[in-house]
């Protein structure tokens, strides 16, 4: 592993950057929603305080393989997200052929762990939440994958470094729009917050979680924010220029998305599962047609 890969994994945009950025983005989400609702909202360090508080909580003990699995899922989510962040082409150098596929797979890990956590917990609310997450995941991932395939086809590569930056090809921007559409479902935000609809099923798959394990889930949620908004930022930010400016713009564009998505979340009611699926499958058809026509066009052009 070369030095650049280590820097990406441990410093930026990996571990050292991503954890505080995750807390910052979660704070941004809570603050933006609070301001829209004419509330004051939490102080800047609240997500950090919450994490530390949860780490120190004593929780009811569980035994056996079930307890180990319930502890393993959030840790696995955090690790896979940090690995995904290390692949983000913030500075478009390095990477390897097909790293885009690995990135998508790593991004999917938290959702899979979330579903498994609900089923493992044995709670009826967890199980219903897991079913909802699984169904919504299938629906939204169809759009998400098609959006990435559309970008990959327009750039003729699955290497993330080659994705980076804006493009003149309209397929690239349709892909970015598709990814943006999927982020609320992946982050379980309104109007797609069916899997953790507290008025129906408490916290869904996380109903039985408490203490340090819940803290890790909260951290994973923050990292999901950074990874998903960061991915969009790398797709639209121009390549080149000083590294520090690129880093600042990366954070700024990511944070703008946090504000935008929080605004949408605060301004909408929650869709039912059926309606969410309908929404994504409609977009899936549009994107499938665009992706296919883009691919055929590229093939003839070459």
């Amino acid at each position: 592993m070369n030095a650049m890969a280590l820097i990406r994994l441990f410093l930026f945009p990996g571990l050292l950057f991503a954890i505080p950025a995750g807390w910052f983005f979660v704070w941004g989400e809570h603050k933006a929603v609070a301001r829209m609702q004419r509330r004051i909202g939490p102080p800047l360090l609240q997500p950090f305080y919450d994490f530390v508080k949860l780490l120190g909580k004593r929780t009811p003990s569980r035994h056996g393989i079930e307890a180990d699995l319930l502890r393993l899922y959030p840790v696995l989510s955090v690790l896979s997200l940090i690995a995904a962040l290390a692949l983000l082409p913030v500075f478009p150098t390095g990477g390897f052929s097909g790293d885009g596929i690995l990135f998508v797979a790593l991004l999917e890990m938290p959702s899979i762990c979330f579903i498994l956590a609900g089923f493992t917990s044995g709670s009826i609310y967890g199980q219903i939440g897991s079913i909802r997450e699984a169904v919504l995941s299938v629906a939204s991932n169809l759009v998400f994958l098609l959006a990435i395939v559309t970008i990959a086809v327009t750039e003729s590569t699955f290497r993330m470094t080659d994705f980076a930056g804006p493009s003149l090809n309209p397929g690239h921007w349709i892909g970015v729009l598709g990814i943006l559409l999927c982020i609320p479902a992946k982050l379980r935000l309104n109007p797609f917050s069916t899997s953790n609809a507290e008025q129906e099923i408490y916290s869904g798959p996380l109903t039985e979680y408490a203490g340090a394990a819940l803290g890790m889930w909260e951290l994973a949620h923050g990292l999901e924010w950074v990874a998903l908004t960061g991915f969009v930022a790398t797709l639209i930010l121009p390549v080149g220029g000083p590294w520090w400016l690129h880093a600042v713009l990366f954070v700024a564009v990511s944070f703008l998305q946090v504000l935008l998505l929080s605004g949408i979340s605060a301004a909408t009611a929650r869709f039912t599962l059926q309606r969410s699926i309908q929404f994504y499958w409609r977009w899936a058809v549009v994107l499938a047609v665009l992706a296919m026509s883009s691919a055929i066009y590229m093939r003839f052009r070459l």
Binding site: V33, Y125, S193, Q199, A269, R275
Partner: protein, 362 residues
């Protein structure tokens, strides 16, 4: 895959302790049972062991939201037995209190309905407006919840500054027309959650004796304020909103339109408040004996008809106090409105009958 899902007695969707148990095939509700009685307080039993003046204070604690309605019904029934006639100004003040209470209750319900469909921003907006009603109630009565306004033969406090209440009313009306009405009537995400959901047909509503906004949203034009006017309601011009689509959206629309009508009644009452005394000679517990007999009183509470029956044996303690609250009538409809619906909609459907289990568990 079949699930048996308990909602309650303690659940984030519920304001009060009751239990709705749903049998679901996947996301579809196949059967439902409802249990109440988790917070029984024996208020009727206590009322039959206290004198009439203590009874007013006691029945005001039946409900934390429509407390005024209960003391008003109680006082009206006792006034029938004693022949006491409240002065005209007192009747107007009773209407003002009742309509402010209706607004307070409707704002609360609208907020809860918004929260149940995950629309917390509207929940906050409704509760901000509700605070203004609480301010008005506090300015009039000195209290935010149990107002202590009704007495046998009038009210306890006068409204000395109607213009101040009118100013609060202006703010509320602006909030209703700029926030509540557009969101509940036009927002697409709200419509997608409420349209065609939780149908209670007119026949079902009549068969189960549904009352209040729930019945009016099912096309039953029933309102005690029009059908059997009490206090000073026959002096005011107002409409009774009725919808015929019978779904949750119809209930939202009826509640929203009733808020506008309440504002209209309040404006008329505050601007034409008659001069004069606001109560007759105050009775004291020692010499306040009620002639033997039975009287009933009906009042249109925010959730529907409240019924009081008081039987006196000629002493200062009632022999029987019987209360029937609107939720007692409306809760039976929940079982039929959730059948075949999505699990995600069931908290909203059960809340759409505006249940108050503290009244029912009195």
């Amino acid at each position: 895959m079949s699930f048996r899902i308990p909602i309650g007695p303690y659940h984030p969707a519920l304001e009060e302790p009751y239990k709705l148990e749903l049998v679901c095939d996947g996301e579809t509700v196949r059967d439902a049972t409802m249990n109440v009685g988790f917070n029984f307080r024996g208020i009727e039993y206590l009322a039959e062991r206290r004198n009439y003046l203590q009874g007013i204070t006691l029945v005001e604690r039946v409900c934390g939201i429509c407390s005024n309605v209960h003391s008003l019904s109680f006082c009206q029934a006792v006034e029938q037995l004693t022949g006491a006639e409240p002065p005209e100004r007192a009747l107007y003040i009773r209407v003002i209190l009742a309509e402010l209470e209706r607004l307070h209750s409707h704002f609360l319900w609208s907020g809860i309905a918004a929260k149940l469909i995950g629309f917390k921003t509207i929940f906050m907006a409704c509760f901000t407006l509700r605070e203004k009603v609480m301010d008005a109630l506090s300015a009039i009565s000195g209290n935010r919840v149990n107002y202590g306004m009704n007495r046998i033969g009038g009210v306890n406090r006068d409204i000395t500054d109607p213009k101040a209440v009118l100013a609060i009313l202006d703010e509320m009306e602006r909030g209703i027309s700029s926030t509540i009405i557009p969101i509940f009537l036009e927002d697409k995400t709200v419509a997608s959650r409420c349209k065609g959901v939780g149908i209670l047909t007119q026949e079902q509503a009549k068969a189960m004796g549904a009352v209040g906004p729930l019945a009016r949203a099912s096309g039953v034009p029933q309102d005690i304020r029009k059908a059997a006017p009490y206090a000073a309601y026959d002096r005011f011009d107002f409409k009774v909103p009725v919808e015929t689509t019978c779904d949750v959206r119809a209930r939202l629309v009826v509640h929203a339109l009733e808020m506008i009508e309440s504002c209209s009644i309040l404006r008329q009452a505050l601007s034409t408040l008659p001069e004069g005394p606001f109560h007759t000679t105050p009775p004291t517990a020692a010499r306040f004996k009620v002639p033997a007999g039975t009287a009933v009183s009906r009042v249109e509470a925010p959730r529907g008809e409240v019924f009081y029956q008081i039987t006196s044996n000629g002493t200062d303690i009632p022999e029987r106090v019987r209360v029937r609250t609107p939720t007692f009538m409306n809760m039976a409809t929940v079982r039929f409105t959730v059948l075949g619906q999505e699990l995600a909609d069931s908290p909203l459907i059960q809340a759409s009958c505006d249940p108050c289990y503290s009244c029912t568990d009195r």
